[in-house]
């Protein structure tokens, strides 16, 4: 990649991708297990529930779900980009630093304790998952900070150890819960886009967008950081500070995504790699485009999850893994051949 990324070309590409995302979201809103007539939808809501069911299904159920899927996809994909950059590890995904097990622990504690209060319209499971995720990430960061000079390696190791330890605690706790609570927890963790309260949707939309924008602002520093710690210092970028900022923002948006939808795998791993294969490794472009493509990918995956099997709803994580894995392999094979030919 020798061409220089100008602000204009970046703007054009982002606008094109955004337009594509909106088209995908629009199309996916029209697809569902129930047929909906647009004419009736435009007639507006009925006076009482059940009067205009087309409107209720499309605007009340489907649209929020599509928006939520786009947000979560965007959050996971951009967190994936950032973690792969700061950990300098291609296997990094948003869950690598203990967020998944922290959120899981939060959920199971909420289920066992049987708490029923809602916080700002968020169910106790979401609130506990968020708290668990944030606390765990903080713990991992602290351990990584305390233990090593080579912060990246000790962060990764701390993440792996905390993940393993918390998984064991989760296993113990699930074995003492009642059977239907157990299945409830497992299904929660498998990841599915759930309907959310309007207030929760707004708060999380705003926070996720704010987080992605913040990451975009520091994306040029990620470019410099990927040259290596010494080189970054020479170019006037403080690696430790950049890492802390990038790590905090990505942990924050991942924790929100997890608390809304459980663990949806593969989006945060394959979308950044796919976009990198096609558009190159410049983070100023990689980050926003990954976010948009990640959103579109999850919208499509969730649409498949809710329509492919008739009335049944499938956990969207199953779809992202089944559809995403082979797609990524094809992409990898094609582009690595292309790259090796160029050399």
């Amino acid at each position: 990649m020798t061409q220089v990324l100008t602000a204009k070309s970046l703007g054009i590409r982002i606008t094109l991708c955004l337009a594509a995302l909106i088209v995908v979201m629009g199309l996916c809103t029209l697809v569902g297990s129930q047929k909906v007539s647009l004419e009736k939808v435009f007639a507006g809501p009925g006076r009482s529930p059940g009067e205009n069911i087309d409107y209720e299904i499309l605007v009340g159920i489907r649209l929020p779900r599509v928006v939520l899927a786009a947000l979560i996809g965007a959050a996971l994909a951009s967190a994936g980009v950032v973690l792969q950059a700061i950990l300098r590890n291609p296997l990094a995904d948003p869950y690598i630093l203990g967020i998944s097990s922290g959120a899981g622990l939060g959920v199971i504690v909420a289920i066992i304790s049987g708490i029923t209060w809602n916080f700002c319209g968020g169910s106790p499971l979401s609130v506990f998952a968020f708290a668990g995720a944030i606390a765990t990430v903080w713990l991992v960061w602290l351990i990584g900070h305390v233990t090593g000079k080579s912060q990246v390696t000790s962060l990764l190791l701390a993440g792996v150890v905390i993940n393993a330890f918390f998984s064991a605690v989760i296993m113990f706790l699930t074995s003492i819960t009642k059977s239907n609570q157990l299945l409830s927890t497992i299904l929660w963790l498998m990841g599915s886009i759930r309907q959310q309260d309007a207030l929760v949707l707004r708060i999380s939309a705003a926070s996720i967008l704010a987080g992605i924008i913040a990451l975009f602002i520091i994306s040029h520093r990620l470019n410099i950081l990927s040259l290596g710690e010494y080189e970054a210092k020479a170019l006037g970028v403080d690696p430790a500070k950049t890492r802390l900022l990038a790590f905090s923002f990505s942990a924050f948006i991942t924790a929100i995504a997890v608390s809304l939808s459980g663990l949806i795998g593969f989006v945060g791993l394959i979308i950044p790699h796919s976009v990198r294969l096609i558009c190159g490794p410049d983070h100023r472009q990689l980050l926003p485009i990954s976010a948009i493509i990640g959103g579109a990918f999850l919208v499509v995956a969730d649409t498949l999850a809710r329509t492919m099997f008739g009335q049944e709803q499938w956990p969207v994580g199953v779809i992202t893994a089944i559809a995403g894995g082979p797609f990524f392999l094809v992409l990898l094979a094609r582009y690595s051949r292309k790259v090796s030919r160029l050399k």
Partner: protein, 295 residues
């Protein structure tokens, strides 16, 4: 650490600003529910709830059920709105319900919440013990203006339970195990609904108190517990004969166990025993017959 606080503050400000921008759009679909007068179109999201509705004579008014609602046979012909674990909100709305009845656990609660936000009339019930079952029947009766039927059904169930208790009063307490799965061997512990059932049928759980609800037990504990009757709930009601043969083969490994020696191993239909519904007494009588052969 100072920088971290700035960071948190920035995120909070951004989130707050975003929230107020988004709040400018008006809320949609928050019309309040009309007071429930007469309920005519009911959707049930669990097989036991469907059974209760039919037992209250509301079968005609049930318009849609979860895909595992298969009893009474009429229920199986109703249109389906997704599974017990993953209900389909769109399908529920499309069946134009004026009352939706759900169970009390996360997946169904979240569907209930979104229906309530649209103004639908939703009844969420927690049914994990016999006492809660009786209360739930009364709640459904109140919500569907069939209180008298509900009271009668509750009375019937209580009477049948009392009869059974009276009949079993003189018999010897049997040491029983309720086996959930055989490989690895997993049984119902003391703190479960199944334990409640076998104690009602005058038996004692052969396994003492455990931390786990459904503990997995080793051969040592199994041989030491001196179990006299083993009850296994079948996995699905279709091939019970096959499952019986498999169970006999499995247990023949321990010929010294009293239950195996006396051939007191039963594989029973899970629907009446595991579903907390109006057929509970039937299931309980079945368990009692397994435990006390003289009945």
């Amino acid at each position: 650490m100072n920088k971290l606080w700035w960071l948190i503050l920035t995120i909070l400000c951004l989130a707050g600003a975003g929230f107020f921008i988004f709040r400018m759009f008006p809320d949609q679909g928050t019309s309040t529910a009309a007071p429930a007068t007469a309920v005519n179109r009911i959707v049930s999201l669990a097989p036991n709830l469907t059974e209760i509705l039919f037992a209250l004579g509301l079968g005609e008014k049930v318009v849609a059920v979860s895909s595992d609602s298969d009893y009474p046979p009429d229920a199986a012909n109703k249109s389906k709105v997704g599974t017990f674990w993953q209900p389909n909100t769109e399908a529920i709305i499309a069946s134009k319900p004026d009352l939706v009845i759900t169970e009390w656990f996360e997946q169904q609660k979240s569907v209930a919440e979104s229906l309530k936000r649209l103004g639908y009339n939703v009844l969420t019930l927690k049914i994990e013990t016999i006492e809660e079952l009786l209360a739930a029947i009364k709640d459904i009766g109140a919500a569907t203006t069939t209180q008298s039927c509900a009271d009668k059904l509750v009375q019937d169930i209580t009477n049948r339970l009392d009869n059974l208790r009276a009949k079993l009063a003189g018999t010897k307490k049997v040491k029983a195990l309720w086996v959930i799965q055989t490989e690895p061997l997993r049984v119902a512990g003391r703190n479960t609904f199944l334990n409640e059932l076998i104690e009602l049928a005058r038996a004692e759980n052969a396994i003492g108190p455990t931390i786990q609800q459904y503990p997995s037990i080793g051969t040592e504990e199994l041989l030491a517990c001196g179990v006299e009757t083993i009850i296994q709930s079948a996995m699905g009601a279709d091939n019970i004969t096959d499952q019986r043969q498999a169970a006999e083969k499995f247990w023949s490994k321990w010929p010294t166990l009293p239950a195996v020696k006396n051939k007191r191993i039963y594989v029973i239909d899970p629907d009446t025993t595991l579903r907390l519904g109006p057929r509970l007494c039937q299931g309980l009588e079945l368990i009692a017959r397994c435990l006390h052969t003289d009945m």
